[in-house]
Amino acid sequence: MRFGIVVFPGTWSDGDCYHATKNVLGQDTNYLWYQESPKLSDRFDCIVLPGGFSYGDYLRAGSIARFSPIMSAVAGFASGGGLVIGICNGFQILCEAGLLPGVLMRNDHLQYRCQWSCLRVERSTTPFTSSCIPGQVLRIPISHGEGNYFADGPTIQALEERGQVAFRYSTTDGDVTPDANPNGSANNIAGITNRKGNVLGMMPHPERCCEELMGGTDGKLIFESIIRHGARTG
């Protein structure tokens, strides 16, 4: 499996994602600079848009990064069926770029939040969740100030009907409750895919929990799903 990790000015989870896919999971991994615009499908099976504060999150998170040359390459890669995962700031950029619907607003309590969160896996048929079982609860940290997922009523309804919601914030038992929602996201949404299912955006950071020493390994399930998908299709 060949992972490409995009680095924008202000990205900071690039090294963490690299460590997870390269050192922990032993996959071929390379960085991609935001000013490049190569044909990605020749060189990569999965593109990661990592977390961070691209352009300082100034104006709106992801608003300036989406115009980078690499993003037209990413859009082309996605439309050809390539796997794209946007984590945290990467999710925000995918929404700004129109590769995923909706927007990530400021957390409803207006504070930055860094803590472990519980995610209920809504679907295990996506390329990103095939190593999980539906209803499984993953323990993965969040770290963001703008993770409050919002879309208009019909869009949310369409997402739900088409099964595009990948993860929801839940209790440890998998109950989706207002108290389990750390940021005010509509329907406790923590991650969604596009209609085709090959682009995932999620606010929590799976790359932060791939080793026991880091307090948990549930994040590995997501990368392992991607690798499994690659092995099947590749």
Binding site: P9, G10, H109, R113, S143, L213, M214, G215
Partner: protein
């Protein structure tokens, strides 16, 4: 004299100092030159009052890589060819003027100190002090400071892994904001903040220079706050996004091998940065200020030389590498211009294009007068030490009620509301997040790890500067030892009032002496630090508050423990005491007598030999896998420590040993050198063997239970849920965003 008293006041120089300058130059300095002296001879840059005392600290060990004060931060060898670089610094005065930006730029500044060593910043800690939240204004400081740290630290991708927050009326209107940054580097690649040899050129990289913070170093750090409004135009606004790019670009330049030296621009901006780098190289420099990229039009030489615009670095390179270095900065979108050259003259010559603006010997600039004053023991201290603690009545509250009150005291309670606003895990090294005795980071590519904490109890230092200083060091090291790591180096931030008052000078001198003594007994050197003086408002000085940042090393980071009990059926032991007998003297300076009796009195004490043995025992027991948890007894005493271990572990505790003497002193007294450990009953014999070997007293307290209730000596009987509820509500209304 051609300058007025007002001008000298403005730049915080005395008339005597002015004459010393004129004598040294053999002429009157011009305005630019005088401004440069004001900055470099300020306490912040020149350590006029503190340097002679700082020499008292032991500063060497087989791990210390650099002499103290030589570079921007201390560097410690952790083996495997790696060095940890760390330093703590205050941003108290800017935070008092504008809490959000003051704290934010404090983080930015300390990060650049670490960056200047060529090291990647891998962690931040913050030690914060505020006035009581019930008093108006203090919550504004708390919220602003925490949001500023969160905003800046989160954006640059350096995890904030620990620190402390505490409250006392002595910090009302004068909050303490001390930021500690840790960096990691291959020790062969350490960068010096020196201009190196003749022919090198100086590059200024980063933000444009504007009229930010002019007089920051001399003005803010030498004055108190009655004129706060008037100083407001000097506030600096940080740009964490640019800082993040600057980190990556400077590390790339350092890795390219093109770098001769590097220095950040902090207090007093270009003046201190360039002059100090020249002094380190025993060289001279020519600077052409017209080349400095500026944000504001019409800035004069004085303003450019003294601007404290953030996110700027000075790089020293050989001219043959100029194109390569420029292309790296271009890649990261950061302006970078050549502003000067290095020569052998020993003189700093400043030009605006061809027009000379200043010409000063670097020796004179960097050798301010040193003041060794005669301190006087504060009368208050004598009175408070004599206070008859034995005459304090037992409280009307029950032991249960006292425990709940202490758990919800802002000084004891959970600080989760604060630290969950900080990214604690980015860079994926954080093994133990905030909330424990110390933070733990792994070192990727090895089994090693480091532990980090900050500590400093102003109340103890107010009551007894010498013992309080010693306790600050002991407690910081104890927190490290409670994780299993060995304390290997310290950094300190000395926060005091106006040293020109003999009482304040006395506090500073004896705090430092006490700290130095503890360092020697515990075998831990001080490798870096910072001094923040003139912390007072309307004539009231803060408590003398030396903050100690401690660094610990794990050879195998998997061998660490936390403070939470690890399941039911474990035996719980108190190390460092042989019985449960409450003595009035243990109430000295305690959280309990301040909260319940509204008294800050008594004379804190510590036996440093016992301290050393207890810590060594604790570390060995953890390393050998004998104990499953360890937690030191500090604010709130033994009962609070037990409650915290129950809450963190989600189990109960049952102890029925007899408590003698005053029950309040036994449960809530703050005798030092005590650690609560838990272990499987079958490991007890191993532990007792160790206690015998190291001659450490201990007492068995009881055992952990699956029934989630804390009972102790027939005095305490409370469900853990109730303890947790009190502990979690202590900060009241959660801090809200700006």
């Amino acid at each position: 004299m051609p300058v007025t008293k007002e001008i000298l006041d403005e730049i915080a120089l005395s008339e005597e100092e002015y004459h010393r300058i004129a004598d040294g130059l053999d002429r009157e300095p011009n305005a630019v030159e005088l401004g440069m002296f004001g900055a470099l001879w300020s306490e912040h840059c020149g350590y006029k009052h503190s340097r002679p005392l700082l020499r008292l600290f032991p500063s060497t060990s087989k791990r210390v890589l650099l002499p103290p004060g030589q570079e921007n931060a201390g560097a410690v060898d952790i083996g495997d060819g790696l060095a940890v670089v760390f330093k703590i610094e205050s941003h108290n005065h800017p935070s008092a003027v504008e809490p959000f930006q003051g704290a934010a730029t404090g983080v930015g500044g300390i990060v650049r100190d670490i960056l200047a060593m060529g090291a990647r910043p891998i962690a931040l800690l913050n030690s914060l002090r505020f006035g009581p939240l019930e008093e108006p204004g203090n919550r504004h400081f708390l919220n602003g400071v925490v949001e500023g740290i969160s905003w800046y630290g989160n954006c640059i991708g350096v995890p904030d892994v620990g620190g402390e927050v505490s409250f006392s009326s002595s910090y009302s209107q004068n909050p303490l904001v001390n930021a500690l940054c840790v960096g990691l580097i291959e020790k062969e690649r350490l960068v010096s903040a020196s201009v190196g040899s003749e022919g090198n050129i100086l590059l200024l990289a980063g933000a444009e220079t504007g009229r930010d913070g002019i007089h920051g170093a001399s003005g803010l750090a030498s004055r108190t706050f009655e004129d706060e409004r008037e100083m407001r135009p000097t506030v600096q606004v940080g740009n964490p996004f640019l800082e993040k790019l600057l980190i990556e670009a400077c590390l790339e330049v350092a890795a390219s091998g093109c770098l001769e030296g590097m220095q950040d621009l902090g207090a007093a901006g270009l003046t201190s940065s360039a002059i100090e780098a020249a002094a380190r190289g025993k060289a001279g420099i020519d600077l052409d200020i017209s080349r400095v990229h500026r944000r504001d039009s019409g800035m004069d030489t004085y303003e450019v030389m003294l601007s404290e615009s953030q996110e700027r670095m000075l790089l020293v390179i050989n001219p043959s590498h100029k194109a390569q270095v420029e292309s790296i900065f271009q890649k990261w979108g950061i302006p970078c211009v050549e502003i000067g050259t290095v020569n052998k003259s020993g003189v700093a010559r400043i030009y605006e294009t061809a027009r000379p603006a200043a010409q000063l010997p670097i020796d004179l600039l960097t050798n301010p007068p040193r003041y060794r004053l005669q301190g006087v023991k504060p009368r208050e201290q004598v009175e408070m030490q004599r206070y008859p603690l034995g005459s304090l009545p037992l409280p009307s509250e029950s032991p249960n009620q006292v425990l709940l009150k202490l758990l919800e005291s802002p000084n004891v309670c959970s600080k989760e509301d604060v630290y969950r606003q900080y990214d604690q895990q980015v860079q994926t090294n954080t093994v133990a997040t905030p909330g424990g005795d110390a933070a733990i980071l792994r070192i990727k590519g090895s089994n090693k790890g480091i532990a980090l904490c900050t500590d400093g109890n102003g109340r103890y230092c107010y009551l007894d500067p010498y013992k309080g200083g010693a306790i600050a060091v002991a407690e910081a090291c104890r927190n490290i030892s409670c994780t299993g790591a060995e304390p290997i180096a310290l950094t300190d931030c000395l926060n005091f009032g106006n040293p020109e008052y003999p009482e304040t000078y006395y506090q500073m001198e004896w705090c430092i002496r006490g700290m130095a003594k503890a360092c020697r007994v515990l075998g831990v050197p001080v490798v870096s630090g910072n001094v923040s003086l003139y912390n007072e408002t309307q004539g009231h000085a803060i408590y003398p508050t030396p903050i100690v940042g401690a660094l610990g090393l794990f050879e195998d980071v998997r061998r660490h423990v936390g403070l939470g009990f690890q399941g039911p059926g474990h035996t719980v032991i108190l190390l460092g005491a042989s019985m449960m007998r409450g003595k009035a003297r243990d109430l000295a300076g305690s959280e309990y007598i301040e909260r319940l009796h509204n008294v800050v009195a008594g004379r804190p004490n510590i036996d440093l030999e016992l301290e050393r043995q207890v810590q060594e025992l604790c570390r060995r027991a953890i390393r050998d896998g004998i104990v499953a948890s360890a937690h030191d007894c500090s604010d709130g005493g033994l009962a609070v420590a037990l409650a915290e271990s129950c809450i963190a572990g989600g189990v109960g505790f049952s102890g029925d040993l007899k408590v003698g003497g005053r029950w309040d002193a036994a449960l809530f007294g703050e005798a030092q050198s005590r650690i609560v450990v838990s272990l499987r009953p079958e490991d007890l014999s191993e532990l007792t063997k160790l206690t015998a070997e190291l001659d450490v007293p201990f007492v068995s307290l009881g055992r952990t239970t699956s029934n989630p209730v804390l009972t102790l000596g027939g005095l305490i009987d409370l469900p853990v849920k109730e303890l947790e509820h009190a502990w979690k509500r202590g900060l009241g209304t959660p801090t809200t965003a700006q």
